[in-house]
C-alpha cells in the first residue's frame, strides 16, 4: 500500500485487498498520514480485487474520520466486482465513486 499527498488530497494506492486481514492496519496507517490540510482522501481501488465487509468497515471508518475534518472520501476506479459490492451495499450514498 502506498500513501501520498497531492495538494489537499491524501492518495492511497497500490493495494489489492481490503479485508479483515490487514484492514485495521491499513486504516491506522492512513489515519496517521492525514493532516489538517487534507480535505480529500482518494482510495485508488483500481488494483483491488477483493473487498469484504471488514474492508467496507475500514472505508466507513475513514469516511467518519474525514467527515469529522470536514472532508470526504472518494473511491477511484473500482473494478466491476468491487463496484458491484459497493452498489449492493448502497455505498454510493456515502462515497463519491469515481470512474468505476
Amino acid at each position: 500500500m502506498r500513501i501520498q499527498t497531492q495538494g489537499d488530497t491524501l492518495i492511497v494506492t497500490d493495494f489489492t485487498e481490503l479485508t479483515a486481514d490487514g484492514g485495521i492496519r491499513a486504516r491506522d496507517s492512513i489515519r496517521q498520514s492525514l493532516t489538517d490540510a487534507h480535505t480529500t482522501l482518494d482510495m485508488d481501488l483500481s488494483q483491488v480485487k477483493f473487498l469484504d465487509s471488514h474492508g467496507i468497515s475500514v472505508l466507513i471508518s475513514l469516511h467518519k474520520t474525514m467527515c469529522q475534518r470536514g472532508g470526504k472520501v472518494r473511491l477511484l476506479h473500482p473494478k466491476p466486482a468491487v463496484f458491484q459490492i459497493l452498489q449492493l451495499l448502497s455505498l454510493g450514498e456515502v462515497f463519491d465513486i469515481i470512474n468505476p
Partner: protein
C-alpha cells in the same frame, strides 16, 4: 497461522478445517475460489463465493465462544452440476437467522456480512446445535446463455462425434488388423499351397496358427467325402480326439449338430450362452460350455467340410475381425482340400494314361514285325488294342522249314502287369525251339515254368499253340483254356478245333494234350481271342461265335488270301462295333493253306 487441512475427495467435493482466525478465514476463501475455478465456475460466481465464504468464516471467527475458539471450524464444499453448496460449521453461540437481513445505517461500520451472504446466495440456512452450528449456503450455478448453451451443445455434439469417430477408428483398426491377418494368411496359404503336403498335416498346421491369431481354444475340422455323403473328423485340437461321423443324407433325423446345420444352411452357426450346444450334438460331450461358430466350407458349390472354432467359455465371443480371419482361413483351407483332391484325381488319371501308353507300347513290341511265310502257307495277324489295354499276344515261329508254330494267347488282366506277363510268356516261348513241334508238351512246360509267377500275381494265361506241319499238311493243336480255333474249308461250315485244358497258371502240374487235324487244301484257320467274339455294338449285343463262324465261312468261300481275310474280318468287326469303344483287345491270326 494454521494451514487449512484440505482433503480433496474428488474434483466436486472439498472439505477443510481451519482455526478461528480472520487470516485463516481469508485463506479458506482463496482455497474455495481455486477449487471452484477448477470446476469451471465463471468469475462472477468465484467472486461471490469468495466473498460469502470470507463473510461466513469471519463471523465464525469473530463470534466464536471462549470454548469454541480453540476448536477448528469445518468447511465442506459440494459442487454439483446445477448449484454449489457450502456448509460451514462454527462454534459460536449462534444467532437467529433473519429471513432477510437488513442493511445497517450507512455510517455504521459493521453488520453487512449476513446481508452480503443472503444477497449473493440462492438460499441460506443456519442450523443451530448445542455445541456447534452450521451455515448452509447454496448458490445456483449460472444458467448458460444461448451462446454458451450453443457452445455447450456443440461441445457435447463434438464430444459425441469424437467418441463415435474414436469407435469408428477403433473398429477400422480392428478391421484393418483382421484384414492384415487375412492378407498375411492368404499369402502364407498361397505359398504353402505350392508345397506338397497331406491335407490333414496342412490343416493342422494352419489351424494351430488360427487359434493363436483369434485367441481361440479349440477347433475341429470335418471334411466331406468326395461323394458328399458324410462328414468325417479330419483334424482337431480337442484332446478327446472325437471321431464321429455325420450323415449328409437328405432325410436325416433332427439336426442337433451345429456342424450339420452349417452344412445344410450354408451359413455360419453360432453357439454361446444364449444358444448353447444341444445335448444331442455330437460335439456336446467334448465342449459343453463354449462359444464359437461352425463355418461351412464350400468350393465351387461343393461342400468341402465344416470348420468349428470356439473358446472354452460361454461369453467373450469372437469380434467381427476375428470371425473374418476364421472365415478366411476356412475358405482357403477349402481351396487346399479341393486342390488336393483334384491333384489326386489328376495324378491318378495321368498315371493311368501313362500306364496305358507303356502297356500299349509293350504290347505292340511283343508282336512280330513280320510273320514267317512258307510255300503254300500264308500267315497274317491283326491286333487292335482297347482303351484299357489287355494282354493279347500272337506269334508265329518257323521251324527249320518243316513248319511253323502259331501262337495265340490272352493274359487275364489289363495294363502294364498284363503286358509284362505277356513279355515273360513270349520270352519263354522263344526259349524252347525244341518244343515247337510238340505244342501239348510245350504248354505243359510253359505252365510249369510260369506257374510260380502267375500264381504270385494271381494271373493266368489262356493260350493256343498250333504247330503246322508244312510237309504233312497237318496241324497239332494244344489249348490252355483258350477259345477254339476255327477251321474252314471252301464250301463247308467252319469247325472248332482244340478247346481243352486249363489256362496256364491254374494248376502247376497240368498236362496238356494235342489234337491233330489234317490241313486240307483251301483251308483257312482262324486263331482269335475272346475280344473278337466279345466285340459289342451300341445295343450291347456281342458279335459272338456264330457271327464269327458265318463270316469265316464267307471268307473261306471267297478264297480270300490271308491279308484279305484279315482286312475283311477287321472291317466286319468295326462295322458291328460302330462307335462303341472296344472293351478288350481284338486279336486274331489267319493261316491260309491254298
Amino acid at each position: 497461522m494454521v494451514t487449512p487441512q484440505i482433503n480433496l475427495v474428488g474434483t466436486r467435493f472439498l472439505s477443510l478445517t481451519f482455526a478461528c482466525d480472520l487470516r485463516e478465514s481469508r485463506e479458506v476463501s482463496r482455497c474455495v475460489r481455486q477449487f471452484l475455478a477448477e470446476a469451471q465456475l465463471p468469475e462472477s460466481d468465484l467472486h461471490a463465493w469468495e466473498l460469502m465464504v470470507t463473510e461466513a468464516a469471519n463471523n465464525a471467527a469473530d463470534y466464536a465462544t471462549e470454548a469454541g475458539r480453540g476448536l477448528p471450524n469445518r468447511l465442506e464444499v459440494f459442487c454439483r452440476d446445477d448449484e454449489v453448496e457450502i456448509r460451514l460449521t462454527d462454534h459460536t453461540a449462534g444467532f437467529e437467522m433473519p429471513e432477510r437481513a437488513l442493511l445497517p445505517p450507512v455510517d455504521r461500520e459493521k453488520g453487512r456480512g449476513l446481508f452480503l451472504i443472503q444477497s449473493l446466495a440462492s438460499g441460506v440456512e443456519y442450523l443451530r446445535g448445542r455445541k456447534e452450528n452450521c451455515m448452509v449456503i447454496r448458490r445456483q450455478r449460472p444458467v448458460l446463455t444461448v451462446s454458451a448453451l450453443s457452445a455447450t451443445a456443440s461441445t457435447v455434439a463434438m464430444e459425441r462425434r469424437l467418441l463415435e469417430d474414436e469407435q469408428t477408428l477403433q473398429a477400422m483398426t480392428e478391421e484393418l488388423a483382421s484384414c492384415y491377418e487375412s492378407l498375411s494368411a492368404v499369402f502364407r496359404f498361397s505359398s504353402a499351397l505350392n508345397r506338397f503336403q497331406q491335407t490333414e498335416e496342412f490343416a493342422a498346421t494352419w489351424m494351430r496358427e488360427l487359434l493363436m491369431i483369434v485367441e481361440a481354444d479349440w477347433y475341429l475340422l470335418q471334411v466331406a467325402d468326395p461323394e458328399g455323403r458324410e462328414l468325417h473328423v479330419a483334424v482337431t485340437s480337442l484332446p478327446a480326439d472325437p471321431d464321429y461321423v455325420l450323415s449328409l443324407s437328405p432325410a436325416p433325423p433332427a439336426a442337433e449338430s451345429v456342424e450339420l446345420r452349417a452344412a445344410r444352411t450354408r451359413q455360419d452357426v453360432w453357439f454361446d450362452a444364449a444358444s448353447p450346444l444341444l445335448p444331442g450334438d455330437p460335439l456336446f460331450p467334448f465342449i459343453q460350455h463354449s462359444n464359437g461358430l461352425a463355418h461351412p466350407i464350400f468350393a465351387e458349390e461343393s461342400l468341402i467340410g465344416v470348420l468349428s472354432v470356439g473358446r472354452l467359455s460361454t461369453d467373450a465371443s469372437f469380434k467381427a475381425g476375428q470371425v473374418n480371419v476364421i472365415q478366411t482361413f476356412a475358405d482357403f483351407l477349402g481351396v487346399q482340400i479341393s486342390n488336393a483332391r483334384f491333384r489326386t484325381e489328376h495324378l491318378k488319371a495321368q498315371l493311368m494314361t501313362r500306364e496305358l501308353e507303356i502297356a500299349s507300347s509293350l504290347q505292340r513290341s511283343l508282336l512280330p514285325e513280320r510273320l514267317p511265310q512258307m510255300p503254300g502257307l500264308e500267315v497274317a495277324g491283326y491286333y487292335q488294342s482297347a482303351r484299357l489295354v489287355g494282354g493279347d499276344f500272337y506269334d508265329a515261329i518257323a521251324t527249320n522249314g518243316h513248319g511253323l508254330l502259331l501262337v495265340m494267347a490272352d493274359v487275364m488282366g489289363k495294363g502294364v502287369p498284363a503286358a509284362m506277363v505277356a513279355t515273360i510268356f513270349r520270352s519263354h516261348l522263344h526259349a524252347r525251339p525244341d518244343l515247337v513241334e510238340r505244342p501239348g508238351e510245350f504248354l505243359t512246360w510253359l505252365n510249369h515254368s510260369l506257374f510260380p509267377d502267375l500264381d504270385r500275381m494271381e494271373m493266368f494265361i489262356t493260350a493256343q499253340l498250333v504247330f503246322v506241319d508244312a510237309a504233312a499238311r497237318r496241324i497239332r493243336v494244344a489249348g490252355a483254356g483258350h477259345c477254339p480255333l476255327l477251321m474252314a474249308t471252301t464250301g463247308s461250315t467252319p469247325v472248332e478245333v482244340g478247346n481243352t485244358g486249363f489256362p496256364l497258371g491254374i494248376m502247376r502240374d497240368a498236362v496238356f494234350s494235342e489234337e491233330v487235324s489234317d490241313l486240307r487244301p483251301a483251308t483257312r484257320l482262324l486263331l482269335f481271342t475272346d475280344g473278337v467274339t466279345d466285340t459289342a455294338n451300341s445295343n450291347r449285343e456281342h458279335f459272338g461265335l456264330d457271327r464269327l463262324k458265318e463270316r469265316w465261312r464267307l471268307i473261306a468261300d471267297r478264297r480270300q488270301n490271308a491279308s484279305q481275310a484279315v482286312q475283311d474280318l477287321a472291317s466286319v468287326l468295326q462295322t458291328f462295333q460302330g462307335k462303341e469303344p472296344a472293351t478288350d483287345d481284338q486279336t486274331f491270326l489267319v493261316l491260309v493253306n491254298e
